[in-house]
Amino acid sequence: MTRRLIAGTALALIFGVAAQAQDGPINITTYGGAFGAAVNEAFVKPFTAETGVQATMVDNDNPPATLKAQVEAGNITSDVFDVEQSDVLRLCDEGLIEPIDPSILPAAADGTPAEDDYLPQALHECATAIMVWSTVIAYNTEAFPDAAPTTVADFFDTKTFPGKRGIIKRPKYALEFALLGDGVPADEVYDVLSTPEGVDRAFAKLDSIKDQVVWWEAGAQAPQLLADKEVSMTLAYNGRIFDAIVDEGKPFAFVWDGANLDMDYWVVPMGAPNRDVAMQFIAFASDPARQADLSKYIAYGPPRESASASVGTYKDGTTEMAPYLPTTPENAERAVVNDAGFWADHDTELTERFNSWLAGA
């Protein structure tokens, strides 16, 4: 009896593995939360409906670290991962993710090939962008009834705009905003930050408001600090603030000046068990209409230019999404595109200095 049971289990396992090696089902790992839910609605469910291949969403609070661990251990449980730009560079350079052939991506409706349709930096030899998000300044409108802040310089001006400031507790974004607030033009931020004097300048600017800063670590803290009036203005991820405004009716508003644009990317781990299906999924999710569809569920912009025009309303049916998206031309006018290469080079060094600075008097 026992022997028969063992044999049966072994057989089931063998066939199970064999079946998996052919055509999915695939697992898709994202950062989860509201974004994971949006990806599920816009890409994953339609993919299963259209191809019949079972695709499952996996929530993870750190996909790149998981991907690295899985590839190094040779035990890959997800076929597609959602990672940020800096991770794309690192993972690709270290040979941990598969190259993606751009010819599998569908052309735009007017026939423009995908390579010309994607925003700069959105296509990488190992990754294609999913969406564009940004780190922006947000404020509580009740804190400034008379004049609303409009520039990054206003963020550092605690006399005209009193109240504490919320800043993310890491050097990335904090240093860029500091330089912008000190008058560095958007297109020169990373050139200045590459010099020792530029780094000193950024820290000096942060020093000027250090005693007024509440440092936050998790993305959800920023809108919470604004809502509790712990801070009057904060750096925040645009999607979180959008949710607070539209879903919860909070009196928040954006300052798009100096918004720091980032992209999330699809990547396939090297040696993924269902590599071909994974590529099929990425091609499917690269369709401009589907990318525009993602903005129905969450306030992230599409990475293809042809998709921007077809962005419609939010899932509530009334809110026009364009004013809330970082990719909308008037919002992106004074934006900084985050330089992942710079951060891959300097992350450790600047994080150590940042923590040393934080701990100092």
Partner: protein, 432 residues
């Protein structure tokens, strides 16, 4: 055959089986050997019983932790992918200027690494020591993939003049052997200068030593506070009548069973500047509306939240020890003329020491490794070393550095444990 393995049977037979003076079993083997054999069988059977547990601990605990710690002193990111240059470094001692052979080795290795997609690993390894070099390697890699003509020194310097930097060559030499102490040096704010000597890093980059000190200091403070708060509660729990002490016990255990995040977030609601406590103080007129106290996002917040979370770990061992203390000892001391303070100090308190030791060790060791609570409520002054370990694990992906920091932390805790054992004795530890 079963008889041969049974010591009783063996003894029974020896009475009749004396031939050459040695005790023998029925089938003529020496009794000593038969006994040893049967005992070793029993031992083997017992070992088989604990084997699953042993395998579990090995696979899920010892091996992964060992592998992780190994990264702190072993990193072959450079040496494995740049074999020829590593060999040149091995053949030529420090101080020898890179010659043609060195440049040729560098160029050949770079070409191979660029083709094999390992150049990022190499660049990342050197970037740990010389920030900014990761992109030097990857951008050079993209160019050499198109071909590289000798003389290599001129060709590489033409691609990027940073290839001539002595700092870079020194870092490459340091990385040329996979065994390295550099991550430990970095973990104590030291680095290797270009000539190989050990120097302190710039003051504005120094952070780890300070964080280690702060971690141990805060853990000590938290342990002391949990003792001061926990001791009377444990005493009450142990001495109140059953029904009341059960109710009190539930009050201790309920927060203990509540999620750590929920408790941390509750403290945020209570302590923040627009929070409940400040609101009450302003309403009572104790402080003005503009003088609201900053009780969170700093060290104070970290201490309050961590003390609350760790309090049960102090109370429970104390309580379990106090329950076993016979009240007649204190009564006897009092009847012999001791004041209540003397009776407490000389008779009661010494008997609680095993529980106190266990509680203090538990709280201290847990506090040393805490990171979610300080990350959320610590602000800039309440960061602990574990936050940096987490950052190196998840953000910068410099696992060797994370492992070195973790190894130092583990070493320090083991050292404290050893000191505790020498001073108090680990046999005196009682968890219940």
């Amino acid at each position: 055959m079963a008889n041969a393995l049974d010591p009783h049977a063996a003894i029974a037979t020896t009475a009749t089986g004396l031939t050459d003076g040695a005790l023998r079993t029925a089938d003529g083997r020496p009794l000593v050997r038969a006994l040893a054999r049967s005992q070793s069988l029993a031992r083997r059977r017992a070992f088989l019983l604990v084997l699953p547990l042993l395998a579990f601990i090995l696979i899920t605990f010892v091996v992964p932790i060992g592998q992780m710690l190994q990264r702190s002193f072993y990193n072959d990111g450079f040496s494995a992918h740049m074999p020829q240059l590593s060999q040149w470094f091995a053949d030529n001692p420090r101080g020898v200027e890179p010659d043609d052979a060195a440049w040729t080795a560098l160029a050949t290795d770079l070409q191979a690494a660029a083709e094999g997609r390992t150049i990022g690993i190499v660049g990342t390894r050197i970037n740990y020591d010389v920030p900014g070099t990761r992109s030097l390697f990857t951008s050079t890699g993209r160019q050499v993939r198109r071909g590289l003509e000798p003389p290599y020194q001129a060709a590489l310097l033409d691609i990027n003049e940073d290839w001539g930097s002595p700092q870079l060559w020194s870092a490459m030499r340091n990385a040329a052997t996979p065994l390295t102490g550099n991550f430990y040096l970095a973990a104590v704010d030291r680095s290797r200068a270009d000539d190989g000597s050990i120097v302190q890093v710039e003051e504005r980059q120094q952070v780890y030593v300070m964080l280690f000190m702060r971690t141990f200091w805060l853990s000590l403070v938290i342990t002391a506070i949990t003792f001061i708060l926990g001791f009377p509660i444990a005493h009450l729990l142990a001495t109140l009548p059953m029904r009341k002490s059960n109710l009190l016990m539930i009050l201790v255990l309920l927060p203990f069973w509540t999620s750590l995040l929920v408790r941390t977030t509750s403290w945020m609601v209570l302590l923040q500047q627009q929070g409940v406590i400040n609101d009450v103080l302003v309403w009572l007129g104790v402080i003005g509306g503009s003088q609201r106290l900053q009780m969170i996002y700093n060290q104070t917040g970290t201490i309050i939240a961590m003390t609350h979370i760790l309090l049960p770990f102090m109370i429970l061992p104390l309580y379990s020890v106090m329950r076993t203390i016979n009240p007649s000892y204190v009564r006897a001391a009092r009847s012999l003329g001791a004041t209540s303070w003397t009776a407490f100090r000389r008779v009661y308190f010494p008997q609680t020491l095993p529980g106190l030791g266990a509680g203090a060790l538990l709280v201290f060791i847990l506090a040393v490794g805490y990171y979610i609570t300080p990350a959320l409520v610590g602000g800039s002054s309440g960061q602990l070393i574990s936050n940096m370990i987490a950052m190196h694990m998840t953000d910068t992906l410099n696992w060797s550095m994370a492992a070195a920091l973790a190894a130092l932390l583990l070493g320090a805790v083991l050292l404290l444990y050893w000191v505790y054992d020498r001073m108090v004795g680990i046999d005196n530890l009682k968890l219940g």
